[in-house]
């Protein structure tokens, strides 16, 4: 690949497109101006009613001074809106990286992966002749992605996901980081923020039109007069025109903006080759991404807003016209023309994907897990202002020391973790059927373990079940996809062994499913469908009712408290109708609510649980499971206080 030539082409293309973008903005301003001038002219004319309408007449009577001053005002308004947005988004790189959940790597890190990434950043800084930017890592993200942020090289930062740091080889990571350096060097962040700000200015015209349109139609309905009001008609046409200009202009400008962004990606790919002189590095990185189950997805809430910064597409896009990145295979083809179209399959290395924070804090793993288990329960106690729970004996170790040691050990290795989760579902009455299921599942080493653990855990205090599950889940990420498949089937067989599903079983299964499914299968996130709580009344009533019936002595009052927090007139469903099945259906519906609603739903649930001043472990487990299902996981310290 002749990377200098590729760079020239990409630079020329993006310059042309930027010019086109500028022309489009100008044309839009002129169009808006003509529309406004026309509206004023017709209003004048209808007021005087002196002449026939005619295009010639129009040109003669246009007051050119007015025409230009109107143009000035429009450009000024667009400029102000654009400036406002520019100021809003052009924060320093470190602010952006931290907003996306990045952790700044200390320069004296000892983790070999972090060390390697940091060395690579310094190497590329040399190759590109730039100052060394700080490196951030997104610890929670397992997709392979990276971004550069900041509007000038001086405040730029580079960030990589944990997935990219661990899953890529040295050469591949070098290619990815070289790509990001190109974005810094070419000032791509500055350009894309500018374009986005301008785009906002254009859509602002449409917003004004929409407001005008709505106000005039409303005024009409209110008056319902037969008399034709000309100025009203003009306002209506004006509103419609502005709205259309804003809409079409927005679409056009959006397409141009995405085309520019794509050219910048090609440029960055070619520059990565220039810096590393190794086209295989970045081409292989792209191939690995194509074959990697989590792909380039980044889950952080703000990632979409900043998608243009990333190395790969952050979210799946239906319409590639608006995508910020060219398709993967086209990027690879440019780097490696002889590519046979096959991606590189690389299995996620789960052990390395877990950031080793415990060791950094100088805390051994086991005591950290214990502390976590303890903190979960105490935290709940404190947050819910619950005096009796505060005296609850919190650590597994304190209740039964000899059990604690083996359990903690088991929770840290995959087979043990599987047996522990299954053991929580073990029941003496159905032991036979469950033992058969384990044998049929063909997971070597599991037989015997489950029954034994089941007997041991039968006496486990209910408040320790949730911490135990939470300890097992990270370990379970380490099993293979087929093993997971079998484990999940086994889990279902265990749950159905007694021919009925109780609430705890439902919670356990949902927690496992929502925590582990993204590891082994590609998940499409649920599309938000419900924008108002009113649409969800039925499901909300079932969810709150189930929770109220579970914990409180005074079900009706606890339920009323939740309804009050949501500010909805909900009816408590008859207790007999509350089963696992309708409950599960209700929660599935809640999962399609808009994210902001989910937070208030969780708040309402918490207040129901805390109504009697006591949060029992079953309630806590249920809330956690619901949070997992509706994809709005809440860390313990975020659970709202339920003070009545």
């Amino acid at each position: 690949m002749d990377f200098f030539r590729e760079q020239d082409i990409a630079r020329r293309n993006s310059r042309l497109l930027t010019l086109l973008f500028g022309i489009a903005v100008l044309v839009l301003i002129v169009l808006t101006n003509i529309l406004l001038a026309g509206a004023l002219f017709f209003q004048d004319m209808t007021a005087s009613r002196a002449h026939d309408t005619g295009l010639e007449e129009f040109f003669y009577s246009v007051n050119w001074r007015l025409f230009f001053s109107v143009g000035g005002v429009i450009s000024g308004v667009i400029g102000v809106v654009a400036l406002f947005n520019w100021l809003r988004f052009s924060q320093g790189g470190s602010t952006v990286a931290e907003a996306l959940g990045g952790r700044r790597l200390p320069s004296a890190t000892t983790d070999p992966f972090e060390r390697r990434a940091q060395n690579i950043v310094q190497e590329i800084a040399l190759a590109s002749n730039m100052p060394v930017p700080p490196l951030y890592v997104l610890d929670e993200e397992r997709g392979i992605n990276a971004f550069a942020a900041g509007v000038s090289p001086a405040d730029a930062v580079v960030a990589v996901t944990r997935g990219a740091m661990v899953q890529l080889t040295r050469d591949e990571l070098q290619g990815v980081i070289g790509h990001e350096f190109s974005h810094i060097l070419n000032g791509d962040m500055r350009l894309s923020i500018r374009l986005a700000a301008m785009l906002r200015g254009i859509t602002f015209i449409g917003d004004v039109g929409a407001v005008l349109l709505r106000s005039t139609t409303r005024a009409r309905v209110r008056r319902r007069s037969g008399s034709k009001n000309n100025s009203e008609a003009v306002a209506l046409v004006l509103g419609l025109g502005l709205y259309l200009i804003g809409l079409l202009g927005g679409i056009m400008a959006g397409i141009i903006k995405s085309a520019i962004s794509k050219q910048k990606e090609y440029l960055a790919d070619a520059s990565a080759v220039q810096f590393t002189r190794n086209p295989d590095g970045i081409a292989n990185a792209l191939k690995v991404i194509g074959g990697y189950t989590p792909g380039t997805l980044v889950h952080t809430a703000r990632a979409e807003e900043l998608s243009h910064l990333f190395f790969g597409q952050v979210k799946h896009r239906l319409w590639s016209l608006f995508a910020t990145h060219p398709p993967l295979d086209r990027r690879i083809k440019r780097l490696d023309p002889d590519w046979n179209g096959e991606f590189t399959a690389r299995r996620p290395d789960h052990a390395a994907l877990e950031p080793n924070l415990a060791d950094e804090m100088g805390m051994p793993q086991a005591s950290r897990a214990l502390a976590a288990a303890a903190s979960i329960t105490t935290m709940a106690a404190v947050e819910f202002q619950d005096p009796p729970a505060a005296t609850m004996d919190v650590s597994i170790a304190a209740t039964t020391p000899e059990l604690a040691a083996t359990v903690l050990e088991d929770a840290r290795e995959p087979l043990g973790a599987m047996s522990l989760v299954l053991a929580l579902l073990w029941h003496a009455d159905t032991a036979e059927a469950q033992a058969q299921a384990v044998q049929a599942a063909e997971i070597p080493g599991l037989e015997g373990m489950v029954a034994q653990r089941g007997r041991e855990l039968a006496a486990l205090a209910p408040e320790l079940k949730l911490p135990l599950i939470e300890m097992c889940l990270p370990t379970l990420k380490g099993i293979s996809a087929t093993q997971y498949e079998r484990f999940k089937r086994l889990l279902l067989q265990f749950i159905r062994a007694d021919q009925r599903i109780d609430l705890f079983e439902w919670c356990l299964f949902q927690l496992v499913r929502h925590y582990l499914d993204p590891e082994f299968t590609r998940i499409k996130p649920a599309r938000p469908r419900y924008g108002a709580l009113a649409e969800l009344d039925h499901s909300l009533a079932i969810a709150l009712g189930t929770l109220a019936a579970l914990g409180s002595e005074d079900t009706a009052q606890a339920f009323a408290r939740g309804a009050e927090v949501l500010n909805r007139p909900l009816q408590l469903p008859p207790i007999a109708e509350l089963g696992v099945q309708p409950f599960s259906k209700a929660i599935d519906q809640l999962a399609s609510a808009y994210p902001l609603l989910k937070v208030s739903i969780l708040k309402a649930l918490a207040s129901v649980a805390a109504h009697d001043g006591r949060v029992c472990p079953q309630e806590l487990t249920l809330i956690k499971a619901i949070a997992a299902v509706i994809d709005c996981p809440v860390p313990n310290h975020m659970l709202p206080t339920g003070a009545p």
Partner: protein, 199 residues
């Protein structure tokens, strides 16, 4: 003031601003490639500092390879002295030639050590050694990238200087000469294929 003089004056002003922009860009590009040269020196020094650690770590495992280790140390000392001579002589071409010869020797001594280490899995597996070899790999890259970065920025400077109309302004304001690319003094060695002898 007549219309003509206004047009004339504004054209002159625009031309003036344009020349200033071109001149500033020339200065920026020129400084960039000078900085790039300083980086090469820094990275060579970094490599010289790393090698004693490497040898110290390897010593415990490589009791029977004293010769190889000593060769590395002496090559490193020579290269380090040559680098100092270059800095002292203010980049004298002869000293640069000496330095690149010494660096070549050091590179081949390190290569030999690497081959020897292949036979000692314990050594390769030790976390200390893994850390060191990551640092060394990174340093090798840095030396190469610093050279390459220097050449890239020289190319950028020359292309900018030679293109029209920049070339007029460059010649007028003292950017008359192209910067020269850094060439390997050991190019003949690189170009001949390595010979393998079986004896």
């Amino acid at each position: 003031m007549s219309v003509q003089s206004i047009v004339l004056l504004s054209t002159l002003a625009i031309l003036c601003l344009w020349s200033i922009a071109i001149y500033n860009q020339l200065v920026a590009l020129g400084n960039r490639h000078k900085n790039a040269f300083a980086q090469i020196e820094v990275q060579l020094k970094r490599r010289h500092d790393l090698i004693p650690n490497l040898v110290e770590t390897a010593k415990g495992y490589l009791q029977h390879e004293r010769e190889t280790l000593e060769a590395v140390i002496s090559a490193r000392n020579e290269a380090s002295a040559a680098l100092q001579a270059v800095t002292a002589s203010n980049i004298d071409p002869g000293a640069v030639k000496n330095l690149s010869g010494a660096e070549g020797l050091l590179g081949s001594a390190l290569g030999k050590l690497n081959v020897v280490m292949e036979a000692y899995p314990d050594l390769k597996a030790s976390s200390n050694m893994q850390q060191l070899s990551e640092e060394l790999a990174s340093t090798e890259n840095r030396v190469a990238f610093a050279r390459q970065g220097f050449n890239d920025s020289v190319m950028g400077y020359n292309t900018y200087r030679q293109s029209f109309p920049n070339v007029l302004i460059a010649n007028f304001f003292g950017h008359r000469e192209d910067a020269s690319l850094l060439e390997f003094e050991d190019s003949p060695q690189i170009q001949t294929a390595p010979s393998v002898k079986f004896s």
